[in-house]
C-alpha cells in the first residue's frame, strides 16, 4: 500500500483497504458541524431527509458568526439552531457566553481528535487537521446530508508534502509560515489536494501554530491540511478530551504531487497585501518601502484568537499605547481563553494600551459586525481573508498578518516589524 495520511483516514472511514487519488467514496463521519449562518439554511434541507440526526453526540451547531446577534434576522437564525439543538437533544449545547468561535471551541472542548473524519459547514473546518484528523469544509446541503445520514461522498485527494525543518526565529509564528507558503504556491496552489506537513520542524511548532497553519490550508485551495500526531498532540488531547483517538501515518512509499521543503529558521514576518491571501510580502521588503499607515487592527478569529496568539500580542503591547489614529479590537476566540486573558493579566495590558476587548465572535473577520470598515480605511488583521469588501466597504484594505505584527503595527500606526517594535 502507498497512501498518504489523509488517504488512510478516508480509506478506514469508507471501510476500504485502499483508496487512490481521484476515487469517489462514501465515508462515515465522526463530527458534523455548522454555525449560525450555514446551520439555519441546512435545517429545511435536513427535514426533507430525516426526523432525527444520525447521532446526537456527533452533530454540533455553534452560534458564532453574527453573535451576539447583530439584528433581528440573525437573532432568528440563532434561535433556529438553538431550538433544533434542544429538540434533537444534541449533547453539546453551544451558546454565546458559554462557547466561542467554532474552530477554537471544538478542539478546546475535545469534540475533535486525531484520526477522525470531520465535516463542517464553514470553509475553515480544515483547522482540525492540526490534531491529525481529516477535516474539511462543505456547504449547506452537504452538512444537512451529514446530519441526517452520518455519511458523505468525497473525492479522494492527492497531496503536496511540506517538509519542515529548523526552528522559527523570535517574533515569527505559524501565521508567517502559512502566509509564506500561500505566497509561494498561490491561492489555488493546492486546489483539491491535501497539504501534509511533516519533518523534524513539526516538533518545533506549538499546537496553536499548527491550528493556524491548517486553518489557512483552504486559502491555498486545499481540501485539508494535516499534521502527524506527536507528543505535543497527545498531550493536547489528553488535556482536552476523553475521546478515543487513532493515530495514522502516511506510508513510506506514499505518492505526492509535489514535495516542498520549508526551512522554518528562514521565515520572516510576512504580510498578505490586498486582495488575496497569496499576495505575500516579507517584512524586509515592507521596511524598505514607504510606510503603510493603518486605521484598524484586529487580533483574534479562528486563525489567531488562541491563548498563545494573545500572549504574543500582549508581550509587545505591554506598557505601550496604541497609536492615536488606530483602533484595535482584541477578540479572544473562546470564553476559556477570555478568562485566561484576565487571569494572566493580558486583559489589563490590552485595555490599558487602548484596545477594545471583545466577546468571542467571528464578527469583524467577515465584515459582519463589531469592526466593519469605512471606505478607504486600512486594517492589519490576524484573520484569514483579505478579499474585496471582506471586512466592510469595497474600497477598504486588509493586510493579513501574525499577532506579533498586528500588535507592533497597532503601536506604530503603520505596518511595523515586530522584531523591532517588540524589543
Amino acid at each position: 500500500m502507498s497512501m498518504t495520511m489523509t488517504q488512510k483516514i478516508l480509506a478506514d472511514h469508507a471501510e476500504l483497504k485502499e483508496v487512490v487519488a481521484g476515487q469517489l467514496i462514501e465515508a462515515k463521519l465522526d463530527v458534523v458541524m455548522a454555525n449560525d449562518i450555514t446551520g439555519p439554511m441546512a435545517l429545511p434541507i435536513f427535514n426533507q431527509m430525516a426526523d432525527k440526526v444520525f447521532d446526537k453526540d456527533k452533530v454540533v451547531l455553534v452560534p458564532d458568526h453574527f453573535t451576539p446577534n447583530k439584528d433581528i434576522k440573525s437573532a432568528e437564525n440563532s434561535k433556529a439552531i438553538r431550538e433544533f439543538s434542544k429538540n434533537q437533544c444534541l449533547t453539546y449545547h453551544m451558546e454565546q457566553g458559554k462557547c466561542g468561535v467554532e474552530h477554537a471551541i471544538l478542539p478546546e472542548m475535545g469534540i475533535v481528535v486525531a484520526g477522525e473524519c470531520i465535516i463542517g459547514a464553514d470553509s475553515h473546518t480544515c483547522t482540525y487537521g492540526a490534531l491529525g484528523a481529516f477535516s474539511t469544509g462543505v456547504g449547506t446541503t452537504d452538512i444537512a446530508t451529514g446530519m441526517a445520514t452520518g455519511q458523505l461522498w468525497f473525492k479522494v485527494p492527492s497531496a503536496i508534502q511540506f517538509v519542515l525543518k529548523g526552528k522559527l526565529p523570535p517574533y515569527v509564528s505559524g501565521k508567517d509560515v502559512i502566509l509564506h507558503i500561500i505566497g509561494r504556491i498561490g491561492v489555488d496552489g493546492a486546489l483539491y489536494k491535501s497539504m501534509e506537513f511533516v519533518g523534524e520542524g513539526v516538533k518545533e511548532l506549538s499546537m496553536d501554530d499548527r491550528f493556524t497553519i491548517c486553518n489557512m490550508a483552504i486559502e491555498a485551495g486545499a481540501k485539508n491540511g494535516i499534521f502527524p500526531v506527536d507528543e505535543q498532540t497527545r498531550e493536547y488531547m489528553k488535556k482536552h478530551s476523553t475521546k478515543v483517538f487513532k493515530v495514522y501515518e502516511a506510508d513510506e512509499d506514499a505518492l505526492y504531487d509535489d514535495v516542498i521543503e520549508i526551512d522554518l529558521s528562514k521565515i520572516v514576518p510576512t504580510v498578505a497585501f490586498p486582495h488575496l491571501p497569496g499576495n505575500a510580502h516579507t517584512m524586509d521588503e515592507i521596511n524598505e518601502n514607504e510606510k503603510i499607515y493603518i486605521d484598524q487592527v484586529v487580533i483574534g478569529s479562528c486563525t489567531n484568537g488562541r491563548l498563545s496568539d494573545l500572549r504574543k500580542a500582549a508581550a509587545i503591547l505591554k506598557g505601550k499605547k496604541v497609536a492615536d489614529h488606530v483602533r484595535v479590537m482584541v477578540v479572544p476566540a473562546t470564553q476559556k481563553i477570555f478568562v485566561q486573558c484576565i487571569q494572566e493579566g493580558l486583559a489589563e495590558i490590552f485595555v490599558e494600551a487602548g484596545c477594545a476587548l471583545n466577546t468571542p465572535s467571528c464578527g469583524p473577520c467577515m465584515g459582519g459586525h463589531m469592526g466593519v470598515m469605512a471606505k478607504g480605511e486600512k486594517c492589519v488583521s490576524t484573520t484569514n481573508r483579505n478579499f474585496v469588501g471582506r471586512m466592510g466597504d469595497t474600497e477598504s484594505l486588509i493586510y493579513l498578518a501574525s499577532p506579533e505584527t498586528a500588535a507592533a503595527s497597532a503601536i506604530a500606526g503603520y505596518i511595523a516589524d515586530p522584531r523591532k517594535e517588540g524589543k
Binding site: 453574527f66 439584528d71 462543505v138 449547506t140 446541503t141 452537504d142 478579499f387 471582506r390
Partner: protein
C-alpha cells in the same frame, strides 16, 4: 439539457465574498440573496443579468467561504451556467448539490468574450460560441456526479438510495 444565453465575463479568483457579501448572510431567502449577487465586484450585475445568461470566468472561481448562498444567489439571479478554468472545491460541491450547472473548460474561458452568445449541451459537454462560430469541449462529470445531477441534487439522491 441545454442552456443558451449571453455571456457576462469575470477574471480569476472570483471569491464568495464578492458573489454574496457576508453582510447579506443574515438571510438565506434565495430571492433576497439574488438581489445582492456580485454587488461588490460588479454593482451593475443584477440589472444586467437576464434569465439564461452564462457566466464565464478564470481560475479558482468561488474560492473562499463555504456559503452555499453563493451558487444559490447566482442560480436565482438567472445564471444558467458558470464556465471557468477551474472551481474552488466547496463551490463545486455546493453547485452540484443544488443542481446549478458548472463546467470546467480552459479553452472556452479564454476564448469567449463578454456579450458573446453561447449555447451549451450538457449531455455532451460541448460549448458552442454562436457569436464567434466556435466550439469547445468541457470536462465531463464523473459518472457518480452525473447520477446525482440526474436525481436533481444530493437530497433526492440520498432519498432515492434510502428507497
Amino acid at each position: 439539457m441545454k442552456a443558451n444565453g449571453i455571456v457576462l465575463k469575470y477574471g480569476d479568483n472570483v471569491d464568495t465574498d464578492v458573489i454574496i457579501p457576508a453582510r447579506y448572510l443574515n438571510s438565506f431567502d434565495a430571492k433576497e440573496l439574488a438581489s445582492h449577487a456580485m454587488v461588490d465586484i460588479d454593482p451593475t450585475f443584477v440589472e444586467r443579468v437576464n434569465p439564461g445568461d452564462i457566466m464565464v470566468a478564470g481560475k479558482n472561481f468561488g474560492c473562499g467561504s463555504s456559503r452555499e448562498h453563493a451558487p444559490l444567489a447566482l442560480k436565482t439571479a438567472g445564471v444558467s451556467c458558470v464556465i471557468a478554468k477551474s472551481f474552488a472545491r466547496i463551490f463545486y460541491r455546493n453547485s452540484i448539490n443544488i443542481g446549478f450547472a458548472i463546467l470546467e473548460c480552459e479553452e472556452a474561458a479564454n476564448d469567449i468574450d463578454e456579450g458573446n452568445q453561447v449555447e451549451i449541451d450538457f449531455d455532451t459537454g460541448k460549448i458552442y460560441n454562436l457569436t464567434k462560430n466556435k466550439e469547445y469541449q468541457a470536462q465531463p462529470f464523473p459518472e457518480f456526479l452525473q447520477k446525482m445531477i440526474q436525481a436533481n441534487g444530493l437530497v433526492n439522491y440520498v432519498n432515492e438510495k434510502k428507497g
